[in-house]
Amino acid sequence: MSREIAILNGTVFDPTNRIFGERMDIFVKDGKIVGSASSKAQRIDASGKVVMPGGVDIHSHIAGSKVNSGRLLRPEDHRKDVEVKTPTTHSGVGYSIPSTYTTGYRYAKMGYTTVFEPATPPLKTRHTHEELDSTPIIDKGCFPLFGNNWFVMEYLRDGKVEECATYVAWMLKALKGYAIKIVDPGGVEVWGWGKFLRHLDEKVTHFNVTPREIIRGLCKVNRLLNLPHPIHVHTNNLGNPGNYTTTIETMDTVRDMANGSKPIVHITHVQFTGFSGSSWLNLGSGAPEIAEYVNKHGHVSVDLGQIIFGDTTTMTADGPFQYFLHMLTDNKWVNMDVEVETGSGIVPFQYKRSNYVNAIQWGIGLELALLIKDPWRVFMTTDHPNGGPFTYYPRVIAWLMSRKARERTLSKINRTARRRLTLPSIDREYTLEEIATITRAAPARSLGLKNKGHFGLGADADIAVYDINPSDMDVLRRKPAKLRRAFGQACYTIKNGAVVVRDGKILKSPFGRTFYVESQTKPEIESNLLRSIETRFRDYYTVGIENYQINESYLRYPAKVRCEAEI
């Protein structure tokens, strides 16, 4: 088969290269975007269709011990959604926690080609890589958890930021991780004793350090290491009424470290920390306040964590929040605390339109997306599967693009919630170029993936072709179901230069690469650090340092991203 592809006459959206819906051809050779193709190229007629770079998901729980515990917890989730083996695909199950093969196929069918698992417990990261390597088609990576790590908390308590940076660099290298993830900083360590931590300035028991110091410290570390992605933060107080102030405080606590216009902190699934009010009864949307802050401050980016009405499985490294959710719903509950590092919890959950709190949550996510002006700093996610399964992305796109789609849902939600939301008064409708920004260009840029999310020469040939005629946009906005169908089933998905999906069907399923970063610190600094942690390692962990590290050869297709540390 030809290794060249010519996608002809499509309407191309490539916001990175300032291409906003131009009729043009895209050429592919040997897995890369090129300027032209020979006559032997496979020709794809994309006239009357939209061509975008492959989707990039910055935050989706698709692999690792927590995800697998979710699968184990919920046979009832799988029974209602099965995939039969075909000549080109393995069988599997959905629904909210799909099996690994099914995860890869379903992303590819939507035109997504890169997905990051945003919370891996370092000690169990080998498991995460095993699952990522079992997930076909997509490129991927994972963010190790650092916000409750004993070494990190001790370095920062002692003001040893450089040592902390050296340690984090070593960890990312040892674990083949991609970014610094912080979940409920300090709060999960305190949960190790079954206790809760509420304020950014509350000391973590036994560690004499505060969440604020952890966030600031790791933000400095991120900068010292020049990591491609900013610190990725799930704030304290997630799920508590009034927590939007914690979100703003968290963003503001690193403001003085801002570095030009480049975001230095990413607040994830900001919907879950966008609650105003002081109780469940007067809960409201803190989206206008958060959006105002984001609009005024370039050092912040966010992703939505949009909720979808229906059944799903919540899972986070935020053990105390998951326990709270278990007590709230009386649903079954898994907790898994991981020595020295983190925890996690899982609770099945149903978002109901008629439920006041859920309806407010639904509104918060959309208000954030519509009130934040710069699409380069707000990314579309459902925090899969926390807000809902990733397979509902087309629905979120429809809500963002079509006022009519929003009004339809608004008419069915809890009435009090509808009255209290700003959403009904928002007219904004996303354009196709804005959708291309929040679903591929912007997350790729935020991740520092230079060859993803755009069609510049030499970029990875990850491409989605959707059955949308841009000249029909006014019609489509009035028929959101069509819009949903188009984004749910790509006409073509091209991954690394190979056509993997045609008309929503999987043609083949090669395995993608796993990105990880290596920020090399000075060799003598690193060896000093290793000596000092080696002595503590067996005291802290129940495994040896040799068995903790993951060799590059353990990954199927490792893709190292190098950066220069300043230490």
Partner: protein
């Protein structure tokens, strides 16, 4: 690996679910000559792994197993699978995750059943988790924090010999430095060697675990217990124990087959999971099953990420279907529903109930195993295989889900392959034969 003596440090043990990773193994001339830091079971395995080995592939001809070429064995195995409508692939707890992955692919390809030894040990634990969930942690959390440790229906001194010294009672943690800072309660039907180390031993009458746990749950809730005793345990004592559970800072309950394999299996585990869940409204409490085989947890994990289900998976409909009690190995065999079987690193002929064994030995049987076992002797095709963690590398999951790589220490005997290689070859041959329409 030459003639020089060389020592491997931080070796992962491949015996029980503790997966201790601090062994020192000395190798000379491709043989293990010395083992340090290991328990007796582990030392014995590492020093005697060459005993009772199968040295070549075998096929049954005219009623007798006789040596054959590897190619012929692969061909015979693939043909058995090709002829059967509902083969069973069973075992998987004493091999690597990588091998299990190929096993699941093979099961899907042949449209059969795949099950691991969970169905005969901690199956009820998993059914309990489906219903209730579990409040758990890694073993290091117990080491650092636990001031109260309970062993219920298990005897780690014999079954998990280093569990106490590495992870619980006798380990040194950040917040618990010594034995005196921890309390041990043992609940069992008899006074085991583990019980002898306990601060409090509670002897429960056989098959009364459910009643005792339920009474404890009531006492933890603060309900009055009407009876004078439950399961042979005086009510005063139950109330005292409940008070200990509530007032500890961090409690850990470990349980074994005494709970999962005594009558009322699932109810027992449900009650234990519920007790621990309830306790979390008063203090911190975790529960961890004492998994037996070194990679039974890995087998559960791989099957779960590939199919959604941890064991007893039915691929006969073209998609994963799961209904333990119906789709688990013993039940399938007892009903005579399988028309061939492939066994990997397990000995069901010695362990399964009579009826299941009878049916298993009456159908074409393929076995992959390093050692001669009764199952091997009943087989129609036999593949000798390399031992994971000694002769070949592979990923294994500790009882608390911590993944580790069990490394290769010595070369396997000549012409002896790993489970992965054998399974891949069978899968490849099966696909070829199918394509050729044979």
């Amino acid at each position: 690996m030459g003639l020089e003596e060389s020592t491997f440090r931080d070796v992962v043990c491949t015996v029980c679910g503790c997966c201790c990773d601090h062994l020192e193994v000395t190798v000379k001339e491709d043989t293990v000559v010395k083992v340090k830091n290991a328990c007796a079971m582990s030392t014995s395995k590492l020093l005697n792994y060459m005993n009772e080995r199968i040295m070549k592939p075998m096929i049954r001809r005219r009623g007798r197993l006789s040596g054959c070429s590897y190619r012929d064995a692969v061909d015979a195995a693939a043909k058995i699978l090709l002829k059967s409508r509902s083969p069973l692939l069973y075992g998987w707890s004493l091999t690597s995750c990588e091998a299990v992955e190929v096993g699941v692919e093979l099961a899907e390809e042949v449209g059969g059943f795949i099950d691991n030894t969970t169905s005969t040990c901690h199956g009820p634990t998993i059914l309990g988790v489906h219903e209730i969930g579990e409040s758990s942690s890694t073993l290091g959390e117990v080491r650092h924090r636990a001031d109260l440790i309970i062993y219920w229906g298990c005897n780690p001194i014999h079954a998990h010999p280093l569990h106490m010294s590495r992870y619980t009672l006798l380990s040194k943690g950040r917040f618990r430095k010594s034995r005196s800072e921890r309390t041990l309660i043992v609940v069992d039907v008899r006074r085991t060697d583990t019980a002898k180390m306990a601060d409090m031993f509670i002897q429960v009458e056989p098959n009364k675990d459910y009643e005792l746990i339920s009474a404890l749950r009531a006492a933890v809730r603060g309900d009055e217990i009407e009876q004078d005793e439950v399961g042979g345990v005086p009510t005063d004592l139950i109330e005292e124990v409940a008070e200990m559970l509530i007032s500890c800072d961090f409690g850990a309950l470990f349980f074994g087959l005494g709970l999962t394999m005594s009558p009322g299996k699932s109810e027992n585990v449900d009650a234990a999971l519920s007790l621990v869940r309830d306790l979390n409204s008063k203090t911190k409490f975790v529960i961890i099953p004492m998994r037996g085989h070194f990679n039974v947890n890995g087998a559960n994990n791989v099957m779960t990420w590939m199919t959604g289900y941890p064991y007893a998976i039915d691929f006969t409909r073209g998609f994963p279907y799961y209904n333990p009690g119906e789709t688990s190995a013993v039940d399938l065999l007892a009903r005579g529903e399988c028309d061939s079987a492939l066994i990997v690193a397990s000995d069901p002929v010695s362990n399964f109930p009579y009826k299941a064994t009878c049916n298993l030995t009456s159908i074409p049987l393929i076995t992959i195993d390093p050692h001669i076992t009764p199952t091997v002797l009943c087989s129609d095709v036999v593949f000798p295989s390399a031992l994971v963690g000694i002769e070949t590398s592979g990923t294994v999951y500790r009882m608390d889900g911590v993944p580790l790589v069990a490394r290769k220490l010595v070369e396997p005997p000549r012409n002896i392959r790993s489970d992965i290689e054998i399974l891949r070859d069978i899968l490849r041959r099966y696909r070829n034969l199918k394509r050729l329409g044979r």
